[in-house]
């Protein structure tokens, strides 16, 4: 007997294609997609054309949305993309918002904050569509989302497993952590030693260089990018790209009030943080003042 694969439709709204490209970098892309029938995809071959999509005749079990959403004024093939998306959102059993734009509004929201949002969330607020689609919604924010976050969700769906999610519909397995978890600079965070220059392995980026890792949900330092590294590991601050309020300004500078970081690590009261900071800063640990590794000169 022939087994019917779930039919997967990837639709784009206002987007830079970043999530499409991110997913194409998955080392096991085709073995993952082999669990599905791709009915249409912006970059991969599908069994239906975009004209078929516009006509509303394409079957769809899993709908992946990429890009920010506006109800009116963004057309493809002469058709409002919003109506296309709603057509297939009604058909689908699962809706995955791929990336921060599709989830919360993201960068493209800056163009027209009043009218551009995510599909089911506008920043952290639920949109009018939320109630209709909440039962089938999975959020994968990130700019872009990590390809393995997508493959986790797809394989869970393919294997008919329930995905545990939080209040913004993010899988807890992926977003239960902060980006800080697993950062190779954690010892420097513990002892409150900031990095002295970009590119150095020594030092934490939280105190002066804008790192948002301690209060950003995501598993970038657990599930590494390209199976190799992460922003913070190579010396770039986390920009908080998975958060509803992304993007923010001054991404390379920590906002401080008299030297005290304005934003605290997730869930940490300021009084507790400052008490701990004062104590740790009172000690000078020689190892943390030295290079991690010395090379022959």
């Amino acid at each position: 007997m022939m087994v019917t694969k779930p039919r997967l439709l990837w639709l784009q709204s206002i987007t830079c294609n970043g999530n499409t490209h991110s997913f194409l970098n998955h080392p096991d892309l085709f073995s993952i997609l082999d669990h599905f029938e791709i009915v249409h995809h912006p970059a991969l071959e599908g069994s239906y054309t975009f004209n078929d999509v516009i006509e509303g005749i394409v079957p769809c079990d899993v709908l992946i949305l990429e890009g920010s959403f506006t109800q009116k004024g963004f057309l493809k093939g002469g058709v409002e993309v919003s109506s296309l998306i709603e057509t297939y959102a009604n058909k689908a059993q699962h809706i995955i918002s791929a990336g921060t734009c599709a989830t919360f509004g993201g960068i493209f929201k800056q163009k027209d904050p009043e009218n551009i949002s995510g599909f089911c969330f506008d920043l952290e607020e639920q949109t009018s569509r939320y109630e209709m689609y909440r039962s089938k919604l999975i959020s994968l924010p990130g700019c872009p989302m990590h390809p393995k976050w997508m493959s986790y969700v797809l394989l869970m769906i393919a294997n008919k497993k329930k995905i545990a999610i939080d209040n913004l519909h993010r899988p807890v397995e992926l977003y239960g952590y902060t980006v800080h978890t697993g950062c190779t600079r954690n010892e420097y965070f513990e002892w409150k030693i900031d990095v002295k220059n970009f590119g150095l392995k020594e030092g934490c980026l939280f105190y002066e260089n804008g790192c948002q890792g301690p209060y950003t949900r995501g598993s970038c330092n657990k599930i590494l990018w390209n199976d190799t590294s992460s922003k913070t590991r190579v010396g770039t601050p986390c920009f908080g790209c998975t958060e509803p309020n992304y993007p923010q300004e001054s991404l390379f500078r920590t906002k401080t009030n008299m030297g005290i970081p304005a934003k605290m690590p997730l869930g940490v009261p300021k009084r507790a943080y400052l008490t701990l900071t004062g104590v740790t800063k009172s000690f000078k640990i020689k190892r943390f003042t030295e290079r991690l590794m010395e090379y022959d000169k």
């Binding site: 401080t256 009030n257 008299m258 030297g259 005290i260 304005a262 300021k270 009084r271 400052l274 008490t275 004062g278 104590v279 800063k281 009172s282 000690f283």
Partner: protein, 197 residues
């Protein structure tokens, strides 16, 4: 009363007595037998509570820092302007200097003057964090609300606390022509004018 509660009370009475003796007579001129005698307890029993004079001295600075920190925390929790909070913090500090002079004297004449006693166990601000944390909270909230100018923490902290400590020191030297409380208004205004945005 449970044994643990009795012990806690005894411990606090040792701290308070030692605090007075250290502040009045100096750290080195005060001995453990002096403190025990004042408390009418045996030297051996006192050592059950504090294993050395240095450790007792360290516990006292934590105790005074926590006591002052608690009062400033009350100020921080009130919904008033940064200017008013400065006035209240100055009042708290000077009132304590008047009513419990040993608390501030201990900081100035024992803690700051005998650093070797505190070098192992009270590094940096470890033993005074109860107080400094509240000053940090005050600065953070006042800059965040736009009332105070954003700057390095220590440049603001030194101006604020160095000023107050200096005045209490002068009071201790009995060179101030007026009661310490006489200066609350002017000093609060000076600090606010120096730190305001």
């Amino acid at each position: 009363m449970k044994i643990a509660e009795k012990k806690a009370l005894k411990r606090e009475s040792i701290i308070q007595t030692a605090l007075q003796l250290f502040s009045r007579n100096g750290f080195h001129k005060t001995t453990i037998p002096d403190i025990a005698a004042k408390l009418q307890m045996s030297v051996g029993n006192l050592y059950n509570y504090f294993s050395s004079k240095d450790i007792l001295a360290q516990e006292i600075i934590k105790y005074t820092s926590e006591a002052l920190g608690k009062k400033i925390r009350v100020v921080n929790m009130t919904d008033v302007s940064a200017q008013e909070k400065i006035y209240q913090i100055v009042s708290v500090y000077f009132t304590m200097a008047k009513e419990k002079p040993e608390m501030i004297e201990y900081f100035l004449r024992v803690y700051l003057s005998n650093r070797e006693v505190f070098s192992d166990g009270c590094e940096g601000i470890v033993c005074v964090s109860g107080f400094i944390t509240e000053i940090m909270i005050f600065f953070d909230e006042s800059v965040s609300s736009g009332e105070l100018r954003n700057q390095d923490f220590f440049s603001a902290f030194g101006l604020f606390m160095g000023y107050l400590g200096g005045m209490v020191f002068l009071k201790g030297e009995e060179v101030l022509p007026h009661d310490i409380e006489y200066y609350i208004d002017d000093i609060s205004r000076n600090i606010y004018n120096a730190l305001k945005a």
